[in-house]
Amino acid sequence: MKELTSIMRMMMKEKKDIVLSIILGFIAGLAAVLLFSASGYLISKAAFAPPFYTLMLVIASVKLLSFIRAFSRYGERYVSHRGTFTMLSQLRMAFYEKLEPLAPGIFQKYRSGDLLSRIVGDVESLQNLFLRVVYPPIVLALVFMSTIFFTMFYSIETAVILFGGFLLTAIVIPAIFAARQRTIDSKVRLKRAALSTEVTELLYGFRDLKIYQQLDNKEKQLLQASDTYITEQEQEEKTTLFNQSLNQFVSLLVTVAVLAVGAYLIDTGELDGIFLAMLIMITLTVFEDAPAMAVFPIHFNDSRRSAKRLFSIMEQKDGQEQEHVAQTLTINEPPEITLENVSFTFTGEERRAVEQVDVHLPSGSKTALVGASGSGKSTLMQLMLYLVAPEQGRVMINGIELAHVDEESIWQLANVVLQENHFFYGTIRDNLLLANDTATDEELQSILAMVQLEHFHLEDKVYERGENLSGGEKQRLAIARAMLKGGSFWVLDEPTSSLDAVTEQAIYDHLFRQAADDTVVLISHRLAGLETMDQIIVMDEGKVVEVGTFTELMEKQGYFYEMKELENNLL
């Protein structure tokens, strides 16, 4: 319920459209009732050969009502849909806005196919909330009340029957269905998400599925998911159909009742026979839209589920934001980074990824982080960028705790190359401009040349996730992007691991020339070449085990020395 209230609140932004829809819907409904009652009256009246002018009056009003009906109906539909789809568009944006700060942690909880299904499928299904759930009952009730009021002047009994019929078709039967609906938990939304998730995975993992000969299995699985989804849809459609048919039958029964009572009253002389045709026409018309009310509970429940699925994500607390007193960082010189007694554990793991680490990176210094895979180097780097928040200890930039700094101003400073870098569907140019959209084509070309990608054209296509680039090409493109960005804090996580030594060296030449005055952290898997770094931090099992320059560490003959010895032996 809470979720729906939030959606309703968003809906209220389109208040004007809602009110207009109700008014136009009311006019359209009433015009139809009047139109048919007028023609029913006309025909009865005509049987008595009345003066011609009364007939003309009725005929003229019939014409007028037809126009009013058609126009207001058009207006109602147009306005209500405009309001709805504007709202859905806003909802999609609201969803995305909530999602964005949750990365990267969100992917440990949700799968992208599922998220896609939410922003498309669930949001789309919420159109029924407004178009079927919120305003039509109001319109229906208004039209009914006016009609009943109108009928009262001719036959109290008919008015009572109409009222009874209204209660039955618009309230009692939908309520019964609603109660039943609550017990049969429709899974259409869930099954849709499941299918969408599986399809996404088939596409993403296609090559591996093919090589491991698992495509057949996956295809079978998907067919099954599709069938369950379709079955759920079918079930829902059948329920809809049943509810609608039943309500249709009840509303037709009301016509029989009106007819029977009318015939009886004429027989007893309590009703003028001239009105019977009119009353029947009124009944037939006013109940035309009533069967739709039987579907109300289905749409209501469906909307509630969709809203819930949307808000379960939108209400995720990201722990980082709470105590966040955003302070924009204004730094002109390369930053100084300090970690004090920092610890961090990934959820679901017993072992701390980083444990009580103290690290100091002076402004403009060059630091190498070395250690085995799984020793916590990448996590330490994520902590420095505030991509994850420390569970204990403090991370500071120029003496200010990161928790108090606007994250974006940290990222603005940083030129980052991750172990895995994302490339967007588009061109080489698009992917480079991400770092600096004011760069000219010449600048981009010269950067590409620095990372030895001069054979790339800026218009060359980049497939989704850079699938048409080799590992080495991706890394070089990522380095090019970092070089374009122009921040003064370089964070490089094994940026050249897929490159051969020759290329690596050439690229490092350019990179370190550009970063001469900047603060640099380099996670490296090769120990050779670290001689010129200002400090080397050696990590093992989440702890810092040694810190010093290359020479210092070699003289110390500790962990680093051992690693270096082994590397030499392997060479």
């Binding site: 025909i43 009865s44 050969a49 109906r73 999609r92 999602l99 964005e100 990267p104 799968r111 196919g113 896609l116 499928g121 399809v199 996404t200 995975e201 993403y204 591996d208 093919k210 090589i211 491991y212 849809q233 459609e237 059948k238 159909l241 048919s245 029964l253 029989v256 007819l259 009318g262 015939a263 027989d267 026979g273 001239i274 029947i280 990934f346 679901g348 017993e350 085995a372 895979s373 799984g374 994250e407 991750l418 172990q419 994302h422 967007f424 991400l434 770092a435 054979h455 090409e473 992007r481 897929s498 490159l499 051969d500 030594a501 020759v502 690596e504 060296q505 050779a528 070449g529 060479l571």
Partner: protein
């Protein structure tokens, strides 16, 4: 489009049922009108007593029951048709995606494909569940009503006949627009899906580049474009129902006017006839008008179906064609031979120049060279996931393509630099390596051999930890070792290996070396090598540069003869110099 028609043809039995039900429905409508009018006529003009009307009221009750029941049945048939149609088309699309060659599978945005699979297929539904039943209904019911009206009062029948052609006319005009607009709408939705999914994957990158806010605008524009496309199509729909409503209302008004005039001025017909016509006229036009709405839905379904058909018709270029020759390990890993193999990615893109070499059975091979030298391409060719433009790849003397696809992949492990980790547990992810269900022992052993066991044991849930999307993230090195564990489980005849490059601790490194050594006792190993010790230990080294095989031989041979190779080794020894 033809697919839809063919599918409909296959289900013509349902169409016959629908036709019969429509005939019944038409009958029910006419009888209902007769009864209503008779009762009113009786009560109003003929001074019937209430008792006289009771039997008629009882009959009316049953007719109304039929009127509610018949649409229920035909609705069910419609739902069944729509349901099986969705299943049918989704199956086709799925098998199309599953049989795509790897190269083709990488093109386009995944989100777009997902959208096609979900939204477009769902959209096809209404063609069968609402359009077809309505077409059948609307071609039968108005006809029945028209016949009845003609027999009762020719003038009204004429008015109805003359005004009704406007309805199909408008429908045709509108229908033409709808289909195109609905294709546009599907495109916008697919574009939105594609953009959203791509953005989602790259959110961290966007944040780090301070572009998350800007990307929001891109998403917003896309979202608004979808809204506008939706409104465009709805506007057509509303205009069409507006026109249809106006025409039918005017026509009903005309009918009412005519019968009223007949009744008073010319005294030509009875009240009964006049009222019957007045009751039947709205039924007649409602049925036609509903056709208009259904027609609109049908056309948007066809738009969606066209998108699906377009995807299905995409030619599967350079699909690898496999033969029927069996291949299995007991015969021992066969030699792999390249004969003048060339390959090019599109025009003036990277080219692999004619290359010939032989990989002996159970040998350890290393491919080295600068990035962009063609190492990955060579690996793709050897894996059989891309086809050479010219030249031959021979397996045991026979063309690779002569073998059964399943047999070949059953004997191949390909450990790429970025293996895909499926959403599921670690155990499940390793088990993918084997086609049969693997025991937990086998999985554990494979993980140990891949040097992954320690890391897994440190996790709270061990092998049952969820990884991949919706689970724990793995580092690059961990992913590769997981892929390696898949290979150990599989025990293939040929291992293609894009060597892991992230730092391993020494213990893990040693475990790996020993395991790979063991693997090589029964398999041919071809490694894109980055680490010198792998290179040094290889029986056969290929040195590639710019798509050409510059030199091959052992480490010692190459050091002596290939200058580029020597330089490369020296630099790696000396490390980077700034």
């Amino acid at each position: 489009m033809n697919q839809i028609k063919n599918y409909l043809y296959e289900n013509k039995q349902s169409a016959i049922y629908l036709l019969l039900l429509s005939l019944l429905m038409g009958g029910a409508i006419v009888v209902q009108a007769y009864l209503l009018v008779t009762i009113i006529d009786g009560a109003f003009l003929k001074d019937w007593s209430f008792q006289e009307t009771i039997p008629l009221l009882a009959v009316l009750f049953f007719i109304l029951l039929a009127r509610s029941f018949i649409p229920f049945i035909s609705g069910k048939i419609g739902i069944r048709l729509g349901t099986s149609a969705k299943s049918h088309f989704r199956k086709q699309l799925l098998s199309h995606f599953a049989n795509n060659p790897v190269q083709a599978s990488l093109k386009g945005q995944s989100g777009q494909k997902v959208s096609l699979m979900m939204d477009a297929i769902d959209e096809v539904d209404s063609y069968f569940s609402s359009y077809i039943p309505q077409v059948i209904r609307s071609s039968v019911i108005p006809l029945i009503i028209l016949i009845v009206v003609f027999t009762e009062h020719v003038n009204s029948g004429l008015i109805m006949l003359i005004t009704s052609p406007f309805i199909p006319l408008f429908m045709v005009i509108i229908g033409m627009q709808t289909k195109k607009k609905s294709e546009e709408q599907m495109e916008e939705l697919a574009a939105f899906s594609g953009r959203f999914l791509d953005t989602l994957q790259g959110l961290v990158t966007l944040k780090l580049f301070g572009k998350a806010k800007q990307q929001k605008k891109v998403i917003q524009t896309s979202s608004l474009r979808f809204r506008d496309a939706t409104m465009e199509i709805l506007k057509v729909a509303f205009t069409s129902s507006f026109m249809l409503e106006l025409i039918s209302m005017l026509a009903i008004g005309l009918v009412a006017l005519e019968v009223a005039l007949q009744l008073i001025v010319f005294d030509g017909i009875a009240f009964f006839t006049a009222f019957l016509v007045l009751v039947l006229a709205p039924e007649y036009f409602t049925s036609l008008r509903q056709l208009g709405t259904a027609f609109h839905n049908g056309k948007s379904s066809m738009g969606a179906a066209k998108k699906v058909a377009e995807e299905l018709a995409l030619e599967e270029d350079s699909a690898v064609i496999w033969g029927e020759k069996p291949f299995s390990k007991p015969e021992g890993p066969a030699s792999l031979e390249l004969q003048q193999v060339t390959f090019q990615y599109g025009e003036d893109a990277f080219t692999l120049h004619p290359m010939s070499t032989t990989f002996a059975p159970k040998s350890k091979n290393a491919i080295v060279g600068k990035t962009g030298s063609g190492k990955s391409t060579l690996l793709h060719l050897l894996a059989g996931i891309v086809v050479p433009d010219a030249g031959k790849i021979l397996l045991g003397g026979n063309p690779l393509s002569a073998y059964k696809e399943a047999d070949w992949f059953a004997q191949l492990s390909y450990i790429s630099q970025h293996p895909y980790i499926f959403a599921g547990t670690i155990a499940e992810n390793i088990a993918i390596g084997s086609r049969e269900t693997a025991t937990r022992e086998a999985i554990t052993r494979a993980a140990e051999e891949a040097g992954l066991a320690d890391m897994i044991m440190a996790l709270e849930n061990g092998y049952d930890t969820h990884v991949g999307e919706g689970g724990r993230g793995l580092s690059g090195g961990e992913k590769q070792r997981l892929a390696l564990a898949r290979a150990f489980l599989k025990q293939p005849a040929i291992v293609l290996f894009d060597e892991p490059t992230t730092g391993l601790d020494l213990k893990t490194e040693r475990i790996l070396q020993a395991s790979i050594q063991k693997l090589s006792e029964t398999a041919t190993i071809i490694t894109v090598a980055h680490r010198l010790h792998t290179i040094k230990d290889a029986d056969h080294i290929l040195y590639l540069d710019q798509g050409r095989l510059i030199a091959e031989g052992t480490h010692a041979q190459l050091l002596e003869h290939a200058e580029g190779y020597r330089k490369m080794v020296t630099i790696q020894r000396g490390g980077l110099q700034r």
